[in-house]
């Protein structure tokens, strides 16, 4: 598999219009194969015949509930499953995630949010079978190769440390958005206590030295005072 967009996705929702809309969103995002189903029965059929790589599953279906269907489908084949539900109670969300769902998305949702969460799950689930890293981060003349964990600038090749990689990856996954200090600490140290703040600053300074033209006046990796950091998007032309 060269890219996560090669993954086939099955969308199960009894609302045909919503199913169609999600399928369209996924196609626009680059997913080549999207199947839809409107009941448990149809979902079982499609899952058995087409063997999708991921399923977006509604919780309330006309002939059963998504929770049971997920367990049934998982018994046949292990694959990432994301719930897509109008039930927003904490208990429902915890129940779904507790059963082993990869994510629980509450309706209504924004297209970008759905795509981001789906791609995050796919990347996590299929990282071992992706032959080449699907993307590289390009910041002007600096290219970050996620596969090798290296920064290429002209002829120079700089290696990213594990912590720098985790921090930059987290920022890149949320590019254009502020990522709080706590979220970055969680990504790098799997711990959101504030004790790592100073260490985080050191890592950010080193990252800037590797990816910025002028580290003292960063263009890409910006500090949002009191909150965290942000990897800015490329300015649209």
């Amino acid at each position: 598999m060269d890219s996560i967009y090669e993954c086939s996705v099955l969308v199960v929702d009894d609302e045909t219009a919503l199913c169609g809309m999600i399928a369209q969103m996924l196609s626009q995002a680059g997913f080549r194969t999207v199947y839809t189903a409107h009941s448990c029965e149809q979902a079982r059929c499609v899952a058995a015949q087409r063997q999708p790589d991921a399923i977006l599953l509604d919780v309330m279906l006309p002939d059963g509930d998504g929770f049971s269907l997920m367990q049934e489908l998982r018994r046949a084949r292990d694959m990432p499953i994301l719930f897509l539900s109008a039930r927003d109670a904490d208990t429902d969300r915890l129940h779904g995630l507790g059963l082993g769902a990869d994510d629980y998305i509450v309706k209504p949702f924004l297209p970008q949010e759905l795509i981001l969460r789906l791609t995050a799950v796919l990347r996590r689930s299929y990282s071992s079978v992706l032959h080449t890293e699907e993307e590289k981060l390009v910041l002007d003349d600096t290219v970050i190769d996620w596969g090798s964990g290296t920064v290429h600038r002209g002829d120079a090749v700089l290696s990213l440390t594990a912590k720098e990689y985790a921090i930059l990856r987290k920022l890149a996954d949320n590019r254009g958005n502020i990522v709080t200090i706590d979220a970055l600490c969680r990504a790098a140290w799997d711990d959101d206590t504030f004790g790592y703040e100073n260490t985080l600053m050191v890592h950010i300074r080193r990252l800037r030295a590797k990816i910025e033209q002028t580290p003292s006046k960063p263009r890409w990796l910006l500090t949002v005072r009191g909150l965290g950091y942000k990897l800015v998007r490329e300015k649209s032309v």
Partner: protein
């Protein structure tokens, strides 16, 4: 049952009081009777020895009566006589003719104690013989009492002992009756106390207080019925709102999704994409409103359980601020998060999801209900008793009527506007905290303060 012990004490006190009042009353009656009798029949008694001293036998055997004695005899006695030692009448005054002139020793022994032919008589013996004074028949009652000396001596002990016994018996009886009353009233008091605490009560309808017990049981049944009805109504309303909130999500997802796609479609004219943006934003707003309404109704009727966990409020505040800035992508909104270094480690116990919702609502209110540039300050403070989240902006503040709504007591119906802020108050209330909204002119300051349950420091 401190109250009942006091009732028992008062009961015994009352019994003692009643006893004392009776004693005083009776004493008063006796005194009154005596005084009244004395008034109706003035004391006429002249000691018999004085009368006897006035009646003397001369040496010649003649009897002389002193002048002063006559009026006494006339006024107070029916007749009089003097006997010599042989029992013969030697002098008499108005003596009835049917009476004998000579008396034997047994006659004298008889009348000196009792009556002489129904005449109550008084006798006095001296060297002149025996003086007999008689009153009118039926005018006096005579009764002889005899007692051994031993008994008289015992009486000195027995009478006070009997009085003491009476007193003890009266106290014991009062205590016993009071105790019985206390025992009978105990379940009744428990029942009333249960009712006051909203618990149901079922009392045995027997004994002194059976009518009261029956009334209490009826009151309890009625309360139970009313409460069941109220709970049913509240639950129905909340479930209905939850149902609507659920059903509206799928159509909203369609509106929002399609609008977002149109907004991102570069092939469409700018105006159309701008309209799509408005549709997307407003559908997001509807989504939040419905979600707020759902949560507010659950909190209002206490159907939202608190999932209390330990977390860092500093992390929550930064996440909420970043989320708002990321979601709005609006240059005119600036958020300054000011957390003292020491409070980055503050750990609190609360429902994190609900608190995040409260903070989001406050930030969103400051960001969306103000025009132009808005500077929002987010602060975290703590002392030994409370920890506080303070969110202040430099916008236009709130109208007086909205401020009043925010402080309306719980239980009043949800307002038509400002639901997001009412929800903030409800969330804080559910945590046993307090909320203040202050118009700073310019700007609104909201302070959420919570009691400190547990505070630990982690390195």
């Amino acid at each position: 049952m401190k109250g009942l012990a006091s009732i028992l004490g008062r009961y015994i006190g009352a019994a003692v009081g009643v006893g004392l009042i009776l004693v005083v009353l009776n004493f008063g009656v006796v005194v009154g009777f005596v005084l009244n009798s004395a008034h109706a029949e003035p004391i006429r008694y002249v000691p018999v020895e004085k009368i006897a001293a006035g009646i003397e036998r001369q040496e010649n055997g003649q009897i002389t009566v002193a002048e002063a004695v006559w009026p006494v005899l006339q006024e107070h006695y029916a007749w009089a006589m003097q006997l010599n030692d042989s029992g013969e009448v030697i002098w008499s005054d108005r003596m009835p003719p049917e009476l004998p002139q000579v008396y034997t020793a047994s006659d004298i022994a008889g009348f000196s104690r009792w009556y002489l032919n129904d005449y109550p008589v008084t006798v006095w013996s001296d060297e002149d013989g025996l003086l007999v004074l008689a009153g009118e028949p039926g005018s006096q009652w005579k009764y002889m009492m005899e007692s051994s000396m031993t008994m008289l001596q015992y009486a000195e002990v027995w009478i006070p002992a009997a009085l003491l016994l009476n007193l003890c018996a009266a106290l014991l009886l009062a205590l016993l009756l009071g105790w019985r009353m206390y025992r009978a009233a105990l379940p009744l008091a428990q029942g009333i106390s249960d009712l006051a605490q909203g618990k149901m009560t079922r009392l045995s309808e027997r004994g002194v207080f059976r009518a009261l017990s029956a009334d209490l049981n009826r009151a309890s049944d009625q309360l139970l019925n009313q409460r069941t009805l109220l709970q049913k109504r509240d639950r129905t309303r909340t479930e209905w709102i939850a149902g609507v909130s659920h059903d509206i999500r799928t159509p909203l997802a369609l509106v929002q999704g399609n609008a977002a796609q149109m907004e991102a479609d570069a092939a469409l004219p700018h105006e159309t994409r701008e309209k799509a943006r408005i549709v997307r934003e407003q559908s997001q707003r509807i989504g939040r409103l419905v979600s707020d309404l759902n949560l507010a109704s659950k909190l209002e009727y206490e159907l939202q359980p608190l999932h209390v966990t330990a977390f860092h409020p500093a992390t929550l505040l930064r996440a909420a601020a970043a989320e708002l800035l990321n979601g709005l992508a609006d240059e005119r909104i600036r958020i300054a998060v000011d957390i003292p270094p020491a409070l980055n480690h503050l750990t609190v116990c609360a429902d994190e999801t609900l608190l995040l919702r409260a903070v989001e609502n406050l930030l969103r209110n400051s960001a969306l209900h103000n025009t132009g540039e808005v500077q929002i300050q987010v602060r975290l403070e703590a002392d030994e008793q409370t920890w506080r989240i303070i969110i202040a902006d430099d916008g236009s503040g709130l109208s007086e009527s909205t401020l009043r709504l925010l402080y309306a007591p719980a239980g009043e119906s949800l307002p038509q506007h400002g639901l997001g802020l009412v929800l903030v108050r409800q969330i804080v209330d559910a945590h046993g905290g307090a909320v203040r909204f202050i118009n700073r002119n310019p700007g609104l300051l909201a302070e959420l303060s919570f009691p400190v349950y547990r505070e630990t420091e982690r390195g």
